[in-house]
Subunit: 455 residues, 2 copies
């Protein structure tokens, strides 16, 4: 029997296994679930061992990382499948129509926390390897699973783990399914994501809130200074006005712009759905281009002075803003941080004290959509979904992707099996069982396609 | 005996009466004190009746207004003394070293809520009239006391009351002592105060907070639009950048600027006291000029998006700011409101919805410092304080002053008897008994001075 045939035959079992996997309340953010995470990882380890892989849990400062390798090692490429067994908190519980950790199938979809993010997607890849091994079909590639338990809390321990184990985990290709199809039936190769870096900008003025009548006019108003500093960060054309900000930006290619234009994307309907009168942003780019491939500077929050009802006539003692920049290839978070700090310092008037605090940030990710591996992935997607994939980018950040790319020296293939309506991080998360089945078929085809590539 | 001699002789009694007056917890903001306000007003009414005035409480929608008139009516000017018998809430009580409504004298100062604001100051004027009548000295002017019970909650019922009773309350001069001396020993004629008008500016964007990665760049960020709108309201020279804003501003005269320059005011020490590195504001004006005689646009508060610890990577659904403009003669609140609204509307980009809500505002007040009455007041101050007064303005707003001026057709003399260290509106409010005594002497002299003026 072929692996594909086996996968069809075993649908009932694969479904039961997804139900079982989703039933572990592996909420990484909640310390009371520590043992549930461990139990979930052990169940996965045992599943992979039973299939014939060498699987081990590796302790970290947080939740363990599961690593499983196919054996014996063959000549030919190595494919590392990355995923995570931890899930978002299910709260608010009262909004769930069925219990988050007692999965229920309704109208062809399985409901439960983690069904789509990421248990269903990772299990599709496991099912593929199981289908090869159960039918005694030689695996066309060496396979490594690396499944962590801390993705939903920012993967604090994964990058050091990958560095420590870089030699054992060396791979030619990394396959990640932790994202979405383009449409319900249209698969996608997501060949880029944006990076992100966050700051808190604080302006301190007088040592207390002051009466705006008695004192106002004689000293700088910290909230006004903050407004002016922030306003000065973006120009009238919607471009970030920080010198050097665009220096390292990889321009969109003509091919990319053509691809994006061809996508069915109705800007008017999108604006209506967001509830805004019209779209806005950097001049000269479409909405998709701005979301996927152009950097931004966004204010995430503002705090100053009196925020209650009515008026309080004060010059506030301080004002602060939270801002984040989304980054694109090849912007470096550290460079952007330095440019922003210099810009704010240079434009801050002498009547206040400025503090800019921030984090390290995460780089953007990009992989050529024209590589043999990307084309191999496209063939596997076409075969399993019955439709050619589109080549897209993603505006959000998957900080682990550039880390996988660099640490393992691998080409990363981001092949989402979920949909944007799967309620990730929301109540009533679900996974379409058609996508589970097609995802398994896709992974079986992908291993063959990648095995056929010349290294 | 002269009225001045009588006042010296009766010091003990006047002190006891101030103690009694302060012991009424006449907190207008707190409904539970309604009867205490009434008792306080009745005590004042009875005191004025006992002195020989025709005194009545007039009901309003809120707390009653006390009106007392000297009799018989003589030829010559009429002087209306305005004041208030209500006080600020005493909270936070734990910061008081002595009970707020059980006044205590320590080192020549009486401590208690309302001692300086406004019970001690209004009683000084009452003592003066008492001193004339008790010594059977003919009053040199007709005297009317108009003492309200709602000043600390914005005098909501006084303007309509004055309009209804304009004929009976017609006066040539209105004397108000509800402010401060320039220094501990230096009296002042405060011939101007600023007006004020407040707004809330709200910018609405998407119908919910959006993921700044998935959506950011494709729509206007309401917090950034707000920052840009606010930043555009003030230019690099610290001037309000709203077209027409300065149109009606009465320029400072050379005499005024000379007066202000002569005042002992150390900008360096003032900056240190406020805790700011350097002062700031509209170019071309001193700090005192900017506080007293130049209009401002101040941000009083900012609210948008995420304000907790760490980062939340969102495009916030909305952002809002509270702003107030301090106005100077002859700016009209309604005009300024219209200009600001037009300015914001014109500069608001199409990707958001703008809402500007606001109140009616209060006009600035100014009275010639060169008038015979102002000079008469200066003589009375010189005589009682042993020092010539300075002519100053005040940056805060006393909305009732222009109302008194216009409704009664009177010249308003603002002659503060408190000090800026009297802890108005703060715990441990106090009134210097030297100022109480000198204030009484000043009022006795003032009535004679004003009685001598030709109408």
């Amino acid at each position: 029997m072929t692996p594909a045939g086996y996968a069809v035959q075993q649908r009932g079992r694969f479904l039961a296994e997804l139900k079982k996997l989703v039933s572990f309340p592996s909420v990484s953010a909640q310390p009371r679930h520590r043992e549930d995470l461990r139990a979930c990882a052990l169940w996965l380890r045992d599943r992979l061992r039973a299939a014939g892989l060498a699987a081990e849990l590796h302790p970290t400062a947080g939740h363990p990382v599961l690593v499983a390798k196919s054996k014996p090692r063959i000549a030919g490429p190595t494919v590392l499948v990355y995923g995570h067994y931890d899930v978002q908190p299910p709260e608010p519980l009262e909004l769930w129509r069925t219990p988050p950790f007692a999965p229920v199938i309704k109208a062809g979809k399985m409901y439960g926390r983690g069904t789509s993010d990421n248990k269903g997607q990772i299990l599709a890849h496991i099912n593929a390897v199981v289908s090869y091994l159960a039918t005694a079909t030689p695996l066309p590639v060496n396979v490594i699973f690396c499944i962590e338990g801390e993705e939903e809390i920012g993967s604090p321990n994964l990058a050091p783990f990958l560095k420590r184990h870089a030699a054992e985990l060396r791979a030619d290709y990394v396959v990640v399914s932790d994202s979405a199809l383009w449409g319900e039936d249209t698969p996608a190769v997501t060949y880029g994501t944006r990076g992100v870096i966050g700051f808190e900008v604080r302006v301190d003025g007088p040592n207390r809130d002051l009466h705006s009548g008695v004192f106002g006019g004689s000293l700088a108003n910290p909230a006004m200074v903050l407004a002016q500093l922030l306003a000065g960060c973006v120009d009238a054309a919607g471009r970030v006005a920080i010198r050097g900000f665009y220096e390292d930006v990889l321009p969109l290619t003509a091919w990319e712009r053509r691809q994006f234009r061809r996508l069915a994307f109705d800007e008017r309907a999108y604006a209506n759905q967001l509830g805004v009168p019209v779209l806005a942003g950097e001049k000269g780019f479409s909405a998709l281009e701005r979301r996927w491939a152009r950097p931004t500077l966004e204010i995430n929050g503002l705090t100053s002075g009196y925020q209650g009802p009515g008026q309080k006539t004060i010059v506030p003692a301080w004002a602060s803003a939270k801002i984040t920049c989304r980054l694109v290839p090849n912007q470096r978070p550290a460079t952007i941080a330095a440019l922003l700090r210099r810009h704010l310092r240079q434009h801050c008037p002498p009547g206040v004290r400025l503090t800019v605090s921030g984090e390290e940030g995460a780089a953007a990710f990009i992989q050529s959509p024209h590589s043999p591996a990307a084309q191999a992935a496209a063939r596997a997607l076409t075969k399993s979904f019955g439709q050619e994939p589109v080549f897209i980018r993603e505006g959000g950040s998957l900080p682990i992707l550039p880390v996988l790319q660099k640490t393992l020296g691998a080409e990363v293939l981001l092949l989402g099996l979920g949909t944007t309506s799967d309620n990730w991080h929301s109540p009533n998360e679900k996974f379409d069982l058609v996508h589970y089945r097609k995802g398994t078929a896709m992974s079986i085809a992908l291993l063959t396609e990648l095995g056929g590539l010349r290294l």
